[in-house]
C-alpha cells in the first residue's frame, strides 16, 4: 500500500523510516516546503519528492502521514480526508480549540479515516499497563500518577510557537489520563512556575507544573511536568487500584550496574523521546497499516479535541489560580 509522508523534519524522518521498513507499506512520496529536505528523505526511503497536490491527486496513494509543522496539521488532514485518503496525523490536531472544533464535520464524516498519533498509547510498557488495568485484576482504579519530565528544555524559538507547556507537553499526559482512567476528567487544577530557565518565563511560558484532574466518579489523577530533569527522560505511571497498584518505571540505556565503595550505579535513563518511544512509533505505523487494511483507528479526532480542551482549561487554571470545570 502506498503512503506519503508530509513533513521531512525530525518526526517525519522517523515515520518515513518506519513506513519504509513496514512490510505492507511503500513510501511513494515525501513532501516538505524545503525542497532539499524532501529530496534527502525521499532518497533515503526510496520515494519521490512531491507536492501535497501531487499526493492528493494520485489515486494509488492510500494513506497520508502528516508530520509537518503543527499549524498545518488541521488543514492538511482535512484536505487529505476530502481526497479520500486515510490519515495518520502527528499530535496535536491543532493548538486552537475552537478552530479544531469547527472542522469536526470533516472528521466525523462516515468515510473519514483519521488516526491521531498519541505515541504513548503505543508504548509497549504503557499498553501493558492499560491491558492489565482493563483486565480488572487490581480492582477499580482510584488514582493515577503520571510523571513526565523531559531531559532538557527545547530551544527557546520552539517554546515561543509551542502553544505553551500544557498544550505542547502535558497534552500527552492528558491523553494518557483519559485513556487509563477510562473516564473524562471534569475538573482540572494546575499549579505551574518557571523554575528551570528564566528565558522560558520571558517567552511567557512555564517549565514546571503539577496538575490534578478529577473525574465525575471522583477518580483523581496527578500529573507532574518538568522541561528539564537533568537525568534523562523521566516517564513513569503509577495506577493505584482497590487491590494494589500497577506501575511502569523508567527505561535505562542498558541494564549495566557498577557496584563500588561509594555505592551502586546504574546506567542513565534514555535521554531522548525518539529513543524512549522508538518502539511506540513503530507500533503506530503498524496500526496505520492495519487501518489501511480496514481496522478502526484507536485514537481519533475526538481524542485530540478532548485532550486539547483539558490543556486549555489547565492553562486557564494556572493563569487564574482557580480550579476549572472541563465541559465534555
Amino acid at each position: 500500500m502506498n503512503v506519503a509522508v508530509i513533513g521531512a523534519g525530525r518526526i517525519g524522518k522517523i515515520h518515513a523510516a518506519n513506513a519504509a521498513t513496514h512490510p505492507a507499506l511503500t513510501v511513494k512520496y515525501v513532501v516538505d516546503p524545503i525542497g532539499a529536505a524532501a529530496d534527502r528523505l525521499a532518497t533515503e526511503v526510496g520515494a519521490i519528492a512531491a507536492t501535497l497536490d501531487d499526493v492528493l491527486s494520485d489515486r494509488s496513494v492510500e494513506g497520508v502521514i502528516i508530520a509537518s509543522s503543527t499549524d498545518t496539521h488541521l488543514d492538511f488532514s482535512v484536505r487529505a480526508i476530502e481526497a479520500g485518503k486515510a490519515v495518520f496525523c502527528e499530535k496535536p490536531i491543532d493548538l486552537g480549540l475552537e478552530k479544531a472544533k469547527s472542522a469536526a464535520a470533516h472528521f466525523e464524516a462516515p468515510t473519514a479515516r483519521f488516526f491521531l498519533g498519541f505515541n504513548r498509547r503505543f508504548d509497549p510498557h504503557f499498553a501493558r499497563l492499560k491491558a492489565r488495568l482493563s483486565s480488572g485484576e487490581m480492582g477499580r482504579l482510584e488514582t493515577l500518577h503520571i510523571i513526565s519530565h523531559d531531559p532538557a528544555p527545547p530551544p527557546i524559538d520552539y517554546v515561543k510557537v509551542s502553544g505553551g507547556l500544557f498544550r505542547d507537553m502535558t497534552i500527552h499526559d492528558f491523553d494518557m489520563a483519559r485513556w487509563l482512567l477510562g473516564e473524562e476528567p471534569v475538573a482540572v487544577y494546575a499549579a505551574a512556575a518557571c523554575l528551570v530557565d528564566p528565558a522560558i518565563g520571558a517567552a511567557g511560558d512555564v517549565d514546571t507544573a503539577k496538575t490534578i484532574l478529577r473525574t465525575e466518579s471522583g477518580k483523581l489523577c496527578v500529573i507532574s511536568n518538568s522541561r528539564r530533569s537533568g537525568y534523562g527522560y523521566d516517564q513513569r505511571i503509577e495506577a493505584y487500584c482497590a487491590a494494589g497498584s500497577l506501575r511502569v518505571g523508567n527505561v535505562a540505556v542498558s541494564t549495566l550496574e557498577s557496584w563500588g565503595e561509594g555505592g551502586t550505579q546504574s546506567e542513565p535513563l534514555q535521554n531522548f523521546f525518539l529513543d524512549r518511544y522508538a518502539e511506540a512509533y513503530r507500533a503506530e505505523m503498524a496500526h496505520f497499516a492495519d487501518m489501511l487494511a480496514g481496522k478502526q483507528p484507536l485514537v481519533g479526532f475526538a481524542d485530540g479535541i478532548k485532550a486539547l480542551a483539558i490543556a486549555v482549561a489547565a492553562a486557564r487554571s494556572h493563569a487564574s489560580s482557580a480550579c476549572m470545570a472541563i465541559s465534555n
Binding site: A192, K210, L220, G230, C241, A242, S245, C323
Partner: protein, 333 residues
C-alpha cells in the same frame, strides 16, 4: 552518663511502642506509666517491670524530669500544659492539638517555663529521609524545584477512630506537611487539595475522605505534590522524591526482607511493611535518643509546638481548599 527518669502518659498502641523503646534505651529510665484506663497502665507496667502511677502523682514527683505523652490526641495539649507547668520536659506524640487556635493560645504557656517541648514527627527521624534531607541541604542536586511525597496507609483505620481523628488532613497528611516544610526548608504560600472517598463509603458517612492529592507552592516557587490514600492493599507506601536543578534524590519503599524470587512469571520481591511501627521502627528509637540529647542539654527539640501549629494551619488550609474547590493562600510565617 546521666540516666533520666521519665514517665509515660497513655498506655495504648503508641504508648506501648515508646515505652518499649524507652526501656531499651540506656539513657532513660521509665519509672511510671499513667493511663485513664488503670488496667491498661498496670498491664503495661507489669510487662515492662515498672509502676502504674496516677498522672497527678507523676506531676508531683520531682525525681521525674520528663514525661512522654502518648495519650489520646484530644488530651495532648492539656497534658503537655500540665507537664510543663509542673516543670517537666515534654515528649509529645504528634499532633500536639487538632485545633490551631487553642494551640496558638497555649504557646506562651508552653514556652514560659523554658522546659523543652518536643513534638515527635517520626518522619524527621527516619534514616532514609534524613539522608535525603542532608544530601539536599549539602547542595547535591542544587535548588529544589519539586517535591513529591507518597504517603499511603496499608489499610483503612478502625471506623471508630475516624470521627475523632480530626479528618485525613489533620490526622494523616499532617506528617507530610511537616516533612515537606522540613525537607524544602521553606514555608508554603499556597495549598490546593482535592479529596475523595473512593475506598470505603462508611468513611464518607462519617464526614471524612480516604484519598487526597495536594499541591503546595513554596515561597521560592518550588512545587510540592502530596498523595494520600487510607488503603494501598500492598503495605505501607512511603516514598519521597526531590527534583532539583541538578537531578533528583529519592527514597523508595523498604521491603520486609531482601529476598527476591525469580520465576517463570517474572521477579518478585518481599512485601513492604504493613505497619508504621515496623516501617518507622528506627525512627521511633531515634526520637527517644534525640529526646535524651535534649534532656542532656546537647540539643534543642528538632520539632516543637510551633512546628505542630504550622502543620496544623496547612491542614486547615487544605480542608478549606477542598471545600471551596480553590487554592488557599497562606500567611508567610
Amino acid at each position: 552518663m546521666t540516666v533520666h527518669k521519665i514517665a509515660l502518659i497513655g498506655a495504648g498502641r503508641m504508648g506501648s511502642l515508646h515505652a518499649e523503646n524507652a526501656v531499651a534505651n540506656p539513657r532513660l529510665s521509665l519509672v511510671a506509666i499513667s493511663d485513664h484506663n488503670e488496667a491498661l497502665a498496670s498491664a503495661l507496667a507489669a510487662r515492662l517491670g515498672t509502676a502504674a502511677v496516677p498522672f497527678e502523682e507523676i506531676l508531683a514527683d520531682a525525681a521525674i524530669g520528663a514525661v512522654l505523652i502518648a495519650s489520646s490526641t484530644s488530651s495532648h495539649l492539656e497534658n503537655s500544659l500540665a507537664s510543663v507547668a509542673a516543670g517537666k520536659a515534654v515528649f509529645c506524640e504528634k499532633p500536639l492539638s487538632l485545633d490551631a487556635e487553642p494551640l496558638a493560645a497555649a504557646l506562651p504557656d508552653l514556652e514560659a517555663g523554658g522546659r523543652p517541648v518536643f513534638v515527635a514527627f517520626n518522619r524527621r527521624f527516619d534514616p532514609h529521609l534524613r539522608s535525603l534531607k542532608a544530601r539536599f541541604a549539602e547542595g547535591e542536586v542544587g535548588k529544589a524545584e519539586s517535591l513529591h511525597i507518597i504517603n499511603h496507609d496499608p489499610a483503612t483505620p478502625d471506623l471508630a477512630f475516624v470521627p475523632r481523628s480530626g479528618g485525613l488532613f489533620k490526622d494523616f497528611t499532617i506528617h507530610d506537611f511537616d516533612t515537606a516544610g522540613w525537607i524544602l526548608g521553606e514555608p508554603f504560600v499556597e495549598v490546593f487539595a482535592q479529596g475523595a472517598c473512593l475506598i470505603d463509603p462508611a468513611i464518607a458517612e462519617l464526614g471524612d475522605i480516604d484519598t487526597a492529592k495536594l499541591i503546595l507552592r513554596g515561597r521560592s516557587g518550588a512545587l510540592c505534590m502530596i498523595s494520600n490514600s487510607r488503603r494501598t492493599g500492598y503495605g505501607y507506601d512511603q516514598r519521597v522524591e526531590l527534583f532539583g536543578a541538578g537531578g533528583a534524590l529519592r527514597v523508595d519503599n523498604v521491603t520486609i526482607t531482601q529476598v527476591r524470587r525469580l520465576g517463570e512469571e517474572g521477579e518478585s520481591a518481599a512485601p513492604f511493611p504493613y505497619s508504621f511501627a515496623e516501617r518507622y521502627a528506627d525512627a521511633y528509637r531515634a526520637e527517644l535518643d534525640h529526646f535524651a540529647d535534649v534532656l542532656d542539654g546537647l540539643a534543642t527539640p528538632a520539632t516543637g509546638p510551633r512546628d505542630s501549629l504550622r502543620a496544623l494551619r496547612l491542614a486547615d488550609a487544605a480542608e478549606r481548599s477542598m471545600k471551596q474547590g480553590a487554592p488557599v493562600a497562606l500567611e508567610d510565617r
